[in-house]
Amino acid sequence: MERGFTIWFTGLSCSGKTTLSGWVEADLRKRGFKKIEVLDGDTLRTNLSKGLGFSREDRDTNIRRIGFVCKLLSRNGVIAIAAAISPYREVRDENRKEIGDFVEVYCKCPLEVCVERDVKGYYRKALGGEIRNYTGIDDPYEEPLNPEVIVESDKEKPEESALKVIQKLEMLGYIPAETSVYTEEEEEKLKKRLEGWGYL
C-alpha cells in the first residue's frame, strides 16, 4: 500500500489554493500515484459542511470535519489534498496533530492582490458591507508559523509553486525522488571521487 499523507493548503480567498492543489494533484498523478482525493473548501460547504456559517465556531467545525476526512483517507494510503482558507492557526495545528503525516502549504499572497483577483466576487461584497465575517476584510487570517512550504502566487508561476511542494514531499520521504541532479556519466564520476576520499 502506498503511504498516505495530507497536503493542506491554507491562505486567503483567491490566494491560489484551488489552482495549486490542481497542479499538485496532476503532478502526483503523472508520477503514477492513483489514490488521490482533493477536498476543496468551497465544494465541501455544499455537502460535508452544509449549513455551517462563518462564525469562529462554525469555521473551526468545518476545518475539523475536513481534517477528520483527511485523517481517514491518509491512514488508508490515500493522498488527501485539502484546500481551505482555514484561517485559525489553532485548529490547523490540531489537524496536524491528529493526522500526523501532514504537510502544510501556506499560499501567501498580499490581500490587495486577492481583492484585485476576486474570482468569486465576495471581496467586493464584503467591502461593500453586503456580507460580513469575510477573512481578510473583517475576520482575521492567522499565518502559519512553521509551514512546510510557502508559495507566493503573486510572484511564482503555478508550476513553480507546485514544484516546491513536490520537492518538499520528496525531501520529507513521502514520495520517491524522481529527478536526479546528475547525468549517469556525472554520477559515476562523482561516486569514484567520493570513494577516493572514503565517503562511499
Binding site: M171, L172, V181, L190, K191, R193, L194, E195, W197
Partner: protein, 445 residues
C-alpha cells in the same frame, strides 16, 4: 513644495553613512583542520599570518556535527540547525524502501542557507566551494558550488561565472586515486588547486561588489586524508611536503588578510578535526557476523541487494538503520563491547539514538543510531569487502570535537562551541534580525 535642499543633503549623508556602516564579512573555511594543529603550527612559527590574526582576535575549539562529516557539518554551519532540520546526514544516503543509494546535494537541503537569508535581506554574497552547495541555488551575488559537481559548466550561479572559472584554470577538486599511485603528482595537484582557488577567489573579491565573502579551502581535508601520519610522526618521510603545503595555506590567509579593511569582520573556521587511522572497522560486516544483516547468496555489493528481512544495516560513518526495533538495545550493548583484537581498545566510544541528536521535520530520514568511534577507528560499511577489521589506504580520519573557530576583533563567549553557533553569530555581526529556528546561539560575548 519639496524639502529644502539642505534637508535632502543631510538625508543623503545619513544614507551614505548608513550604507557605509553596513557590516561586511569575510569567512575562510579550512576543511578538516584541527584546533590543536593550528595552535601548534602557530606556536612553532609555521603559521605567521594566522599567528598575526590570533593576536587580533579569539580562537576556540569547536564541536562538529554527529557524524563529523563535511557535508553534514557545513550544512549545520550554513543553517545554524541540526540535521533534523536541514536533512543532510552524510555524503551518501538511501531510499528507505528501495535501499537505492543516492548522494544528497543542495537540492536535498531542507531549509534556507545563510547566503539565501543574506540575499533576502538585500546583502550581496560571494561564496566559493563550500561543501553541499551543488547544484548552486540562486543568490543575490555569486555562488560557486562544491566538489559534488563534476562538470565545471554547471558549477556556478549565475552560470556565466563558469566561463570565468574555466578561463582562469579553476579546479573543482583533485583526484584522490592519484594519491595512491603517484604521490608527488597528487601533491603538485593540491598546490595547484589551492593556488588557483585562492587567486580566482581574490580576483572575484576585488572585482565584484559584495557584503559577504566566503572562500572554502578543501585541499586541507584532502592532504590530511593521505598525509596525516606526516603530522603525527615528526620523522615521517613526507613531513616536509606536508608542512610546505600548510605554509601555502598560511600564505593564502595572509593574502586575504592583506585585503580586508579594518571595519570588516573576519572569521576562519574548520568543520572537524583529524587523527591518524589505526584501523578500519566495517560495521556492515559486523552486523552480518552477529546475524542482524543478511546477504542473499552470491556476491553482493549494493545495499539494495541485502536480504529484505535484515534487522539492521549501516552507512558510513557509523550510521545504523535498525529495521527491527527489538534489536536496537542489543546492538548498542554489543557494539559498545566490541574491542580491537590486538590492542583491546574499544572500537566505539559512544552511540547516540536518533532522538537524542536530531530534532525537526526531517528527523525520520536520519539513522536510528550513530556510533562515534574511539579515535583512530574508522567506521566503514562497504559490502564488497570480506575483512571486518583492516587497514585501508587512508592515513587520516575525521574527529568530532576538535574543529576551530577564529573571529577577529571580538571576544568570544567562554562556553562549549558548536558549528551550529556560527550562523547566528554571523547574523548578529552583520546586524541582521535573529533567526528563531536555529539550534545554535551567537558566540559574541
Amino acid at each position: 513644495m519639496g524639502l529644502p535642499l539642505s534637508c535632502l543633503t543631510i538625508a543623503g549623508m545619513l544614507m551614505v553613512s548608513w550604507r557605509a556602516k553596513k557590516k561586511r564579512m569575510v569567512v575562510v573555511g579550512l576543511d578538516g583542520v584541527p584546533y590543536d594543529f593550528v595552535r601548534k603550527m602557530v606556536d612553532q612559527g609555521a603559521f605567521p599570518n594566522f599567528g598575526e590574526l590570533l593576536r587580533q582576535g579569539s580562537m576556540v575549539q569547536m564541536a562538529s556535527t554527529i557524524p563529523s562529516i563535511s557535508s553534514v557539518a557545513w550544512a549545520s554551519y550554513m543553517t545554524g540547525r541540526n540535521p533534523g532540520k536541514h536533512n543532510i546526514y552524510g555524503f551518501v544516503d538511501r531510499d528507505p524502501k528501495s535501499l537505492d543509494i543516492y548522494i544528497p546535494t543542495a537540492r536535498n537541503m531542507g531549509c534556507e542557507t545563510l547566503w539565501e537569508v543574506l540575499s533576502h535581506q538585500g546583502r550581496r554574497v560571494l561564496v566559493m566551494n563550500v561543501p553541499l552547495t551543488y547544484p548552486p541555488r540562486p543568490v543575490n551575488g555569486i555562488l560557486v558550488g562544491c566538489f559534488l559537481c563534476t562538470n565545471i559548466d554547471k558549477v556556478a550561479y549565475p552560470s556565466e561565472v563558469s566561463i570565468f572559472l574555466k578561463e582562469n584554470g579553476y579546479w573543482i577538486d583533485v583526484d584522490a586515486s592519484k594519491a595512491k599511485r603517484e604521490k608527488e603528482g597528487f601533491l603538485r595537484d593540491l598546490h595547484e588547486a589551492l593556488k588557483k582557488r585562492v587567486e580566482i577567489g581574490l580576483k572575484l573579491y576585488e572585482r565584484e561588489k559584495w557584503d559577504f565573502f566566503q572562500l572554502h579551502i578543501m585541499e586541507t581535508d584532502r592532504i590530511n586524508h593521505f598525509f596525516w601520519d606526516a603530522w603525527e610522526d615528526a620523522g615521517a618521510p613526507d613531513r616536509e611536503a606536508f608542512l610546505q603545503f600548510y605554509g601555502e595555506v598560511d600564505w593564502a590567509i595572509g593574502e586575504i588578510r592583506k585585503r580586508i579593511d579594518a571595519d570588516s569582520e573576519m572569521m576562519i573556521l574548520s568543520d572537524h578535526g583529524f587523527c591518524s587511522v589505526k584501523r578500519e572497522m566495517n560495521l556492515n560486516l559486523w552486523l552480518k557476523e552477529k546475524g542482524y544483516l543478511r546477504l542473499e547468496t552470491g556476491e553482493r555489493k549494493e545495499l539494495r541487494e541485502i536480504y529484505r528481512g535484515s534487522a539492521a544495516y549501516s552507512l558510513i560513518p557509523g550510521r545504523i538503520y535498525v529495521r527491527e526495533k527489538q534489536y536496537e538495545n542489543e546492538i548498542i550493548e554489543r557494539l559498545l563491547q566490541l574491542q580491537d583484537p590486538e590492542s583491546g581498545e574499544h572500537v566505539v566510544q559512544k552511540i547516540y539514538r536518533r532522538e537524542e541528536i536530531y530534532q525537526g521535520p526531517y528527523q525520520g530520514n536520519g539513522p536510528d543510531l550513530v556510533a562515534v568511534p574511539s579515535p583512530g577507528f574508522d567506521l566503514r560499511g562497504e559490502l564488497s569487502t570480506t575483512q571486518m577489521l583492516g587497514q585501508g589506504g587512508l592515513k587520516g580520519m575525521h574527529t568530532g570535537n576538535d574543529a576551530f573557530f577564529y573571529l577577529r576583533g571580538h571576544p568570544l563567549k567562554t562556553r562549549k562551541t558548536a558549528i551550529m553557533d556560527i550562523y547566528p553569530t554571523i547574523l548578529e555581526l552583520m546586524e541582521l534580525p535573529p533567526d528563531r529556528e536555529v539550534d545554535g546561539a551567537s558566540l559574541i560575548s
